[in-house]
Amino acid sequence: MTIRSLLSRKGRSLLTMLGIVIGVAGVIIIISLGAGAQSLVLGQVNKLGSNLLSIQPGKSDPKGPPAQVYGVVVTTLVESDAEALRSSSQVPHAVGVNGLVRGVGTVVWQNKSTETNFIGTDFGYAQVVNFSMMSGEFISETANSGGAKVAVLGSKVADALFAGTGVDPIGQVIKVRSASQKDAGGIPLRIVGVVAPRGSAFFQDQDDQIFVPLTIAEGQLLGIHYLQMISIKVDSSENVDQTISDVTSVLKTRHRILSDDDIDFTVRNQAAAADILKTITSALSLFLTSMAAISLVVGGVGILNIMLATVAERTREIGLRKAVGATNGMVMRQFLLEAGTLTFIGGAFGIIIGIVLSYLMAVLMRYLGFDWDFVISISSVLVAVGVSILTGVIFGLYPSFKASKLNPIDALRYE
């Protein structure tokens, strides 16, 4: 009976449903995009490895940007600090420690050259960061301490120089110069390995870079004698806080710092950074979801409006139904059921449209090169359906009540 009554006013029923369809589809799309964005961001963070600490020179708020962002150059973090942090008696939970500098430079092989980032690092990089070698090996401990003239290429750099030449990069000699050494011939370095493609992490291409021994990068490319960062991998997440305090006390002793106000380094926890990003994306998607929920409420007001018009239009019908035996409760139930059915069907269409559009968005994102997951949570679907039916019932309640209270004689006389 309900369906038949709705079908007899197809155009109106469809338009009424539209508000709910848009609202529900909006909620699902936004929740899905939010979850996709969150997984993208967290994926970027976690790709470098979990349980990572980074120590940067200069004091800054661990939750804010590092001191370098403000143009401050702090030279107090040095290679011997990294060495000290490798001591298992002082920092027992560190499974890898890596001192690092980075810069922009040009790599030349025969008549080909490419602009890329270079990372000066010691052998600890392999212990701290997740990656695998496509061929050859990474910079070894002896190569590093001996200042060997070697380099490891990221996969894109290897492609830029060697693709199509048929030459195995391993054993070839490249010349590297930093951006400030424009006219120099470059430092000749022998390629000992190529890193397998890694994608991007922290929105930075991890394949468009080369690795050189720390001493070469510091002394011959950048002309500096300090580290830009020390990374530490902690054995498990429970020991992260302990390790932060171990690292802090080692560095305070080495830098002869007595008061916390004078600390000249910052220890950052990557998990904390991930948490912050997660909080931000959650807050954003909550915000957007509530915007979509508002459109559901607007859809509900549409239901209210149409149901009121319907009750007025069907006054004689209500009178007749009462005359032939419908009680107030039966009339109320009929109109509530009509409102609920409208919103339920609208909700169902909204879910289908929402899922399809979310999927298309995910396909588009992947096409654009993002590592995007298509996520539809059951809970978001349930919430959307629940809210849409509830909207129908709540906004259908008043018109239904109004209909049920009509006096049959007045209703039958209504013109």
Partner: protein, 238 residues
């Protein structure tokens, strides 16, 4: 035992502080199987009397016994149940549901009853009014006379004790009106109690008894001596 008995029945309406005495003390009773016409000019109170008798309205004071029971303390839901099970309505303006088939219109009261086999009951009622060939027609596809016959089938379908017909021929040409009155007479012949409200003497003469209402009072109650018998071809049987 009379099927309907009223004593000193009064109904007042209040509108913007002005009280109108529509019924001013009516006494009347009727037995099962009667065919009574309530006659009176417009504004006489005959429609109000019919609404009270058919449980669409309640009297301000006075006694109303239906099938031997005082109706004073019946609650709204029980009144709805009585309208469904014991009362059938035929209105002047048909009051059929638009965009709905003939069969579904007749099934409407059954939705609110606990009777089973709605299809067969509705088809039987439609056969009684000679509309078995119109089951799947929509109500906008049939003539006025057929519409009123659908309404009679709808009034019949729950097998009521009393059928109320409020100016059932008022919107019909004389031929269709005759057909409707013929059906009402046949139903009465088969034992249904019928109350016909009209302001036309010609129509009232189809009943067996006429009650005259004027200014809220019963001013006459007589047997129809020369009863008009309607025939479907419009000819009168005397």
């Amino acid at each position: 035992m009379p099927i309907i008995k009223i004593e000193n029945l009064k109904k007042d309406y209040e509108s913007e502080g002005v009280i109108t005495n529509v019924l001013r003390g009516v006494d009347f009773s009727m037995e099962q199987g009667e065919f009574v016409a309530i006659m009176g000019p417009s504004g006489s109170g005959k429609s109000t009397l019919m609404h009270i008798l058919s449980f669409l309205d309640k009297p301000t004071s006075g006694l109303y016994e239906f099938e031997g029971q005082d109706t004073k303390d019946f609650d709204k839901d029980y009144l709805a149940q009585l309208r469904n099970e014991r009362i059938g309505f035929v209105f002047q303006s048909f009051n059929l549901l638009a965009r709905t088939t003939v069969l579904d219109n007749v099934k409407l009261p059954l939705i609110y009853s606990n009777k089973k086999d709605h299809d067969n009951l509705a088809k039987k009622a439609l056969a009684d009014v000679g509309l078995s060939h119109r089951l799947d027609f929509f109500t906008n596809q049939i003539s006025g006379g057929e519409k009123q016959r659908v309404a009679i089938a709808r009034a019949l379908v729950c097998d009521p004790a009393v059928i109320f017909a409020d100016e059932p021929t008022g919107n019909l040409d004389s031929k269709s009106g005759n057909a409707v009155l013929e059906i009402l007479q046949k139903l009465n012949d088969r034992g249904h109690t019928i109350i016909l409200v009209t302001h036309e003497m010609d129509t009232a003469n189809h009943a067996k008894r006429i009650i005259y209402i004027r200014d809220g009072l019963l001013v006459g109650d007589e047997k129809v001596l020369k009863r008009t018998l309607a025939t479907s071809d419009g000819e009168l049987r005397k």
